[in-house]
């Protein structure tokens, strides 16, 4: 393991207000390191997505500290957090979130366009990223012309094209069959081999466990431990097993 890209130190996050207030994270400590693929596992409502949002600088913690590349985000402000996301963090979403009116290469180019990269080099880099995910032959296809697996690969290309230090993936295989899910995880695992990058995958899909360098379990807003079973309560294991056995 090399340096830490993102660290959460005693992170607490309340969601909602008044009677509807929910303590989504209750003093979370975790980190994502370079050259690693980390899995964050937990049942629905355990706080996975909230933690991902906080680590991804989309939500600010109610208490505690988040550090990106060693610097606290506490004083960053909304503009500073946007810049951190733009420069250092790539996102992959369960439902891809591609722009339906843009082609594959334009979707990837978009991540560079928001960084202010000029059109020509941006297109060249976008095409390169599509080669990395094995989709060079579909660069002019629109999302509706691509399969789910192909759309997710475009989303991964969009996440890596800006040289993000960390890729945060939310259930990247959640909408895919096992073959496509395997292919996507292979790509993410290859990205994580880059010693300057780390990948954090939020999932409750146990089929992707073999791709992980580290597995972190979260439940009720608390990190239970690391390892395939570490810290996982019996009830959580049963929920995970049921979720993975359910219809896909």
């Amino acid at each position: 393991m090399t340096g830490l890209i993102i660290e959460a130190i005693n992170v607490v996050k309340y969601l909602g207000h008044g009677a509807g207030e929910v303590k989504a994270l209750r003093g979370v400590n975790m980190s994502v390191a370079c050259g690693e693929l980390t899995l964050l596992m937990g049942p629905s409502g355990s706080g996975k997505t909230t933690l991902l949002s906080v680590l991804g600088c989309m939500l600010t913690p109610t208490d505690g500290t988040v550090r990106v590349l060693g610097r606290s985000t506490a004083d960053a402000g909304p503009g500073g957090l946007t810049k951190l996301r733009r420069d250092h963090i790539g996102f992959v979403f369960q439902s891809y979130h591609l722009f339906p009116t843009l082609t594959a290469v334009e979707n990837v180019q978009l991540a560079l366009d928001v960084q202010g990269v000029r059109s020509k080099p941006a297109i060249a880099r976008a095409k390169e990223a599509l080669v990395t995910v094995g989709l060079s032959h579909k660069e002019h296809a629109f999302p509706h012309e691509l399969s789910g697996g192909e759309q997710q690969r475009v989303a991964i290309a969009r996440a890596i094209v800006g040289n993000a230090s960390v890729i945060l993936a939310d259930e990247p295989t959640g909408a895919l069959d096992s073959e496509n899910g395997h292919a996507i995880m292979t790509i993410l695992a290859n990205i994580a081999k880059d010693p300057s990058r780390g990948v954090l995958v939020v999932t409750h899909d146990p089929r992707i466990l073999p791709f992980a360098d580290r597995i972190i379990h979260i439940e009720d807003g608390r990190i239970l431990g690391e390892g395939p079973d570490a810290g996982c309560s019996r009830s959580s294991r049963r929920i995970l097993a049921m979720q993975s056995a359910g219809p896909r």
Partner: protein, 377 residues
């Protein structure tokens, strides 16, 4: 082509029906504004058309005259007093007034008489298409515009009728001398005009003052005011402004045109705002994704404003075509709609302003967007 432009244009065209509704909204709105502005311009020009066709350096008008058509009177002997002022080369008397024209086929219609000395070259009818202006000095001679043939019941030279019971004979026909009051102008000699409107022989409406080129106009005006009681001495520009102010704002006609134009702009803004807002709402996940991947607020605002500008440009192109058709179609009517390059440019900027203003609601919506929503979808 920039990616922002591609994203904006494709977002806009993705829902063709909504895009068509947007463009129709812009077209209806701006065409309404165009018609109102065109009418305003036309009105503004027609209000001063007689003043525009004189070459006087100064106008002597009765005190408190509101406009050219204001039927006040001056004593005829003022002419002698005016001519006594150093530098004044001529003071041409003009008589105006409303009266009644007997339509040969029966009935009467109001007309507006303009009488001036037939020996003077000032305030003579222009755009003469038939007859001869010199014949205005012949007995009963009058000049009318062919626009009003139907109203006046005459159609050619030598047709005769009566004005206030006094015989009148058409000796000249003009084209395009239209009155904004829709009351036809009838040009005739000074004395006949007095008879037609029934004014006293020594009563005059205005004097058109000509001065020598070396004379100081301010000094002449001061001396005229000192010599003539209860008059105002106006430059043509001042008289034009006064006439416009009276007809456009004093009568409420201009306010009505402004109100129509404003209503058009407001309706257009609301329609465009509504369609842009709903388009933005439909693409909210995409804007949230942009926020999530680190796009600045400005970048997203550019996408929305680009959509608004595209709508404006496409809408305006259609407005311009429609406007040309309207201008051509009304060219020979009593109140033609006028378009000038400046007004066209102004309408373009109004369209752009309207569309950009319309995007404010959409911008507010995306500004408040939570990027974390992408995880929930």
């Amino acid at each position: 082509m920039s990616l922002i432009f591609r994203l904006a244009s494709r977002n806009l065209l993705q829902d063709r029906l909504r895009f068509v509704a947007t463009v129709i909204g812009i077209v209806f709105s701006i065409v309404l504004v165009t018609v109102q502005a065109g009418l305003f311009l036309s009105f503004e020009r027609m209000v001063t058309t007689i003043i525009d066709h004189t070459s006087a350096d100064l106008w002597i008008v009765p005190l408190g005259t509101k406009c050219f058509e204001d039927p006040s009177v001056l004593d005829e002997h003022y002419r002698t007093r005016a001519l006594s002022v150093q530098g004044v080369t001529d003071a041409i008397p003009i008589v105006i007034g409303f009266t009644v024209w007997a339509v040969p086929s029966g009935g009467t219609t109001p007309v507006f008489i303009i009488g001036s000395s037939t020996s003077s070259e000032d305030l003579r009818p222009w755009n003469v298409v038939q007859g001869n202006l010199d014949d205005l000095s012949t007995p009963d001679g009058v000049a009318i515009d062919r626009t009003y043939f139907g109203r006046l019941g005459v159609t050619r030279i030598s047709d005769t009728t009566e004005i206030r019971g006094i015989r009148a004979r058409v000796v000249a026909i003009t084209n395009g001398i239209r009155s904004f009051t829709t009351t036809p102008y009838v040009f005739t000699s000074l004395d006949r005009a007095k008879a037609y409107i029934g004014s006293s022989p020594n009563r005059i409406s205005y004097f058109l003052v000509h001065i020598s080129s070396t004379t100081d106009i301010v000094r002449v005006r001061t001396q005229l005011l000192a010599n003539l009681p209860k008059v105002e001495v106006l430059t043509p520009d001042e008289f034009r402004s006064r006439s416009r102010a009276f007809w456009l704002f004093g009568t409420g006609a201009g306010a009505a045109l402004f109100a129509g134009a404003l209503l058009g702009a407001v309706v257009g803004t609301v329609i465009v705002a509504q369609t842009l807002y709903s388009s933005t709402k439909d693409h909210l996940n995409e804007f949230a994704t942009l926020r999530a991947i680190g796009s600045s607020g400005v970048y997203i605002h550019k996408v929305i404003i680009c959509q608004a500008l595209l709508s404006a440009v496409i809408g305006f192109l259609l407005v311009a075509c429609t406007g040309l058709v309207i201008v051509k179609a009304t060219a020979n009517t009593a109140l033609p709609i006028i378009m000038t390059p400046v007004v066209t440019l102004g309408l373009f900027f109004l369209t752009v302003l309207m569309c950009v203003a319309s995007s404010i609601a959409a911008i507010v919506q995306v500004t408040c967007i939570d990027p974390a929503r992408v995880f929930k979808q």
